[in-house]
């Protein structure tokens, strides 16, 4: 009896060995993070149905996943042969990581929203599809020209288009009108210059409330870019190969930022957490804040006080970087899926949908014709703040984007944070950042 059990056991173990060998290769191959749930299942569906995996991030407050799911539902209804499966993939950084991992694992998503600044990195990885062919077939020059040029700056390289603007923003100044009244400032006259802002912020500061908060965690470089643009030119070249950190104007811009906390005592010292700034504003712990226009609807729905939105104050000129995510399509996906994905992108960027998306979130509607839609005209009439970010686009510039974006951005962020926490002085830190960035970009400048 015992020998029978033993031999049966041996047979079972040998079978395990065989199955272990055969499934070993596929288990290591398919253990990729962020893989969509149904890579090859379209073969088992009826021949007409194309399934698209759609990765998207959420970077601002509000019930955005519901809205995106709703839009995908609508698309699926209008296009019976195509099913879009939206997959929420976290923050911008998480989404980028998941997409890059999927690309490396040769299973890229069919369509995704990713930071517009990842353009150069994605091109270096040879991961994205140029979209000019699709544009020529469906939409043409008219389609592309309808987008605001400020947004196209991070979407095109050498005249070729690689991504389509979707959820785009600029930084705006939110200010608490009630607080302004309280300290004797005119609530309809937000600060328009650096000096005015420092002065007002100092006046507005009292026990339990700061005059202004500019977040410095997460996207430190973005806020800094705004100050730099207001004092001169952008921090990098169009082709993403060179950066300019240690110019005198940029040092002055950084010094102004530090002085708001150190000299004018109108801002908390140290690093200010990105996510808590809007709640600080809503709680009245800060009278003004720099933040993305993408938070506009969230602030509008939750503010218990009268608030205003204005251009960021100017030094030599107004200025703000654009921000946000674009639609991308990836190499290595099925041709039929590419056609379907392009349809989806066109759907999502139709003027009335772009307008609705802007109303629901606060992002700038990416197309000029979106502002001609009835719902948008009505909305802007009732809520003029919604037009501020769009109007500021006149002074909008491309968001910071270079080759090897991650490393260069980290070098800049680290050094900015060192200055804001008082551990380094502006000129020295920016020089260090410049050196580090030059080293990283050296191989792209050969």
């Amino acid at each position: 009896m015992r020998t029978v059990v033993k031999s049966l056991f041996s047979v079972a173990m040998s079978l395990v060995l065989l199955t272990g060998c055969s499934s070993g290769t596929s288990t290591t191959g398919s253990s990729q993070p962020g893989q969509p749930a149904q890579p090859g299942t379209s073969e088992t569906k009826p021949a007409g149905n194309t399934e698209l995996s759609f990765f998207y991030p959420v970077a601002v407050g509000g019930p955005l996943t519901k809205i995106v799911d709703g839009m995908a539902e609508e698309f699926n209804k209008e296009n019976p042969g195509i099913t879009v499966k939206p997959v929420y993939t976290g923050s911008y950084q998480d989404t980028t990581t998941k997409i890059q991992a999927a690309v490396q694992g040769k299973t890229p998503p069919d369509v995704a929203v990713m930071l517009s600044t990842e353009l150069h990195t994605m091109m270096d990885m040879n991961a994205i599809l140029p979209l000019d062919e699709f544009i020529a077939k469906d939409g043409g020059n008219e389609y592309v020209k309808d987008f605001f040029p400020g947004f196209l700056a991070n979407s095109q390289v050498d005249g070729k288009t690689y991504s389509i603007p979707f959820q785009r923003s600029t930084i705006v100044l939110y200010y608490n009108k009630a607080a302004f009244k309280e300290v004797g400032l005119d609530p309809e006259k937000p600060p328009t210059t650096w000096d005015e802002m420092a002065e007002y912020a100092a006046k507005l500061t009292k026990d339990g409330r700061w005059g202004i908060e500019i977040p410095s965690s997460g996207f430190t470089y973005w806020m800094y870019q705004a100050l730099a643009l207001q004092n001169g030119k952008n921090l990098m070249t169009e082709d993403g190969k060179k950066v300019f950190f240690d110019t005198p104007e940029n040092v002055e811009a950084l010094q102004y930022w530090v002085d708001l906390a150190k000299k004018h005592k109108a801002m908390p010292e140290g690093v200010i957490e990105w996510a808590t700034v809007p709640s600080d504003f809503l709680e009245g712990k800060t009278a003004m804040m720099f933040h993305t226009t993408g938070n506009l609807t969230n602030v509008k729905n939750n503010a218990k006080f009268d608030f205003g939105v204005a251009f960021l104050p100017a030094k030599k000129n107004y200025g703000s970087p654009t921000g946000g995510g674009n639609f991308y399509m990836f190499k290595g996906t099925d041709e039929k899926k590419q056609e379907a994905a392009w349809k989806f992108i066109r759907f999502m960027t139709e003027p009335k949908r772009a307008a609705q998306w802007s109303i629901d979130t606060g992002y700038v509607a990416t197309r000029k014709s979106a502002y001609e839609e009835e719902i948008m005209k009505q909305y802007v009439k009732d809520f003029p703040a919604a037009a501020v970010a769009r109007d500021q686009l006149e002074y909008g510039h491309a968001e910071f984007s270079t080759h090897n974006n991650g490393k260069v951005t980290k070098a800049l962020n680290d050094n900015l944070q060192a200055v804001l926490t008082g551990k380094a002085d502006a000129a020295a830190a920016l020089k260090k950042a410049q050196e580090e960035a030059d080293k990283v970009l050296a191989s792209f400048n050969k």
């Binding site: 010292e269 600080d280 991650g406 792209f444």
Partner: protein, 295 residues
């Protein structure tokens, strides 16, 4: 002849039993480690479309990298801050929870619950505890007049904030091991000590603590390796900032691999970490082993 065949039969049987675990170990541990070693000698970043062999360049670059030395020293300080404290605290908690007659279950639950909460949830909670102005800790600090201290946004505070949180999380876990160890100490020893009129401290020093040495060694190794492995909270709370003040080696590896896509460098960093942890484990197993008495 029959003897050899019988031996062979037994051996094959043994190998077949080991086979499933061996396959997993090979596929998911040894093979990836081997691949990592190989990749660490290649240049595999965004500037090089195909990885190519570059000798020890990655290691040389690593030694010249300021951030690498910063994260390494951070990690060592972090280990120094968390290991002795959490082990000592766990021992204390175990002794207390063992003795308490009333509410034993409640005390053990209270000490243990931080362990069952996932680190990401813990990090989110503590992120708000540490928020200046209206976080829970700031309300307490208000009594001392320091309500606006920036715990996570200041280089001098952030390490302490992290250490404190990790000790809170880990001590309960180690307490379990000590509780188990305490059960194994025979009551007779305590009775004979009581008969000789030994004080509580002497009993602890001469009876309890030496007999808990195996547990202490085990718990120390776990605590030390955990101080290198635990980086989930960095993703939520500080992202390694400000300016790498709270950055730890594993988080830096993650950044290098999945933010910068410099896989060659990330592999080199990984090898360094693995070697370091192996060295520590070797010291503890071979060196300290001699000093521990087993019954």
């Amino acid at each position: 002849m029959g003897e050899l065949r019988a031996k062979w039969k037994v051996n094959v049987y043994a190998w077949l039993l080991l086979l499933p675990s061996l396959i997993f170990l090979l596929l998911f541990t040894f093979y990836p480690v081997w691949q990592t070693v190989i990749l660490s000698f290649h240049q595999a970043d965004l500037g090089s479309p195909e990885p190519f062999f570059n000798g020890i360049d990655n290691y040389k670059q690593m030694l010249e990298d300021d951030v690498f030395w910063k994260v390494l020293t951070n990690n060592l300080w972090f280990a120094l801050g968390t290991v002795p404290t959490s082990v000592a605290l766990a021992l204390g908690m175990a002794l207390f929870a063992n003795k308490a007659l009333r509410g034993k279950g409640f005390i053990r639950t209270a000490y243990f619950y931080p362990t069952v909460v996932p680190m990401i949830a813990v990090a989110n909670i503590w992120l708000f505890i540490y928020t200046p102005e209206y976080g829970a800790l700031s309300h307490v600090m208000d009594w001392f007049g320091k309500g606006d201290m920036n715990w996570l946004g200041d280089q001098s505070n952030v390490m302490w904030a992290m250490i404190f949180m990790v000790i809170w999380k880990e001590a309960g876990y180690f307490m379990i091991f000590y509780l188990a160890g305490l059960q194994n100490i025979s009551q007779e020893l305590y009775e004979s000590a009581a008969m000789e009129g030994a004080s509580a401290w002497t009993v602890f020093r001469r009876v309890t603590f030496p007999l808990l040495m195996p547990t202490t060694m085990f718990v120390s190794i776990i605590a030390f390796t955990n101080s290198f492995k635990l980086v989930d909270h960095l993703v939520i709370m500080t992202k390694g900032g400000p300016d790498n003040a709270s950055n730890l080696l594993l988080y830096y590896i993650y950044e290098t691999a999945f933010s910068f896509w410099d896989q060659g460098m990330a592999s080199a960093l990984t090898i360094v970490m693995v070697v370091l942890l192996l060295a520590v484990a070797a010291v503890q197993f071979f060196g300290l082993d001699k000093k521990i008495h087993y019954n």
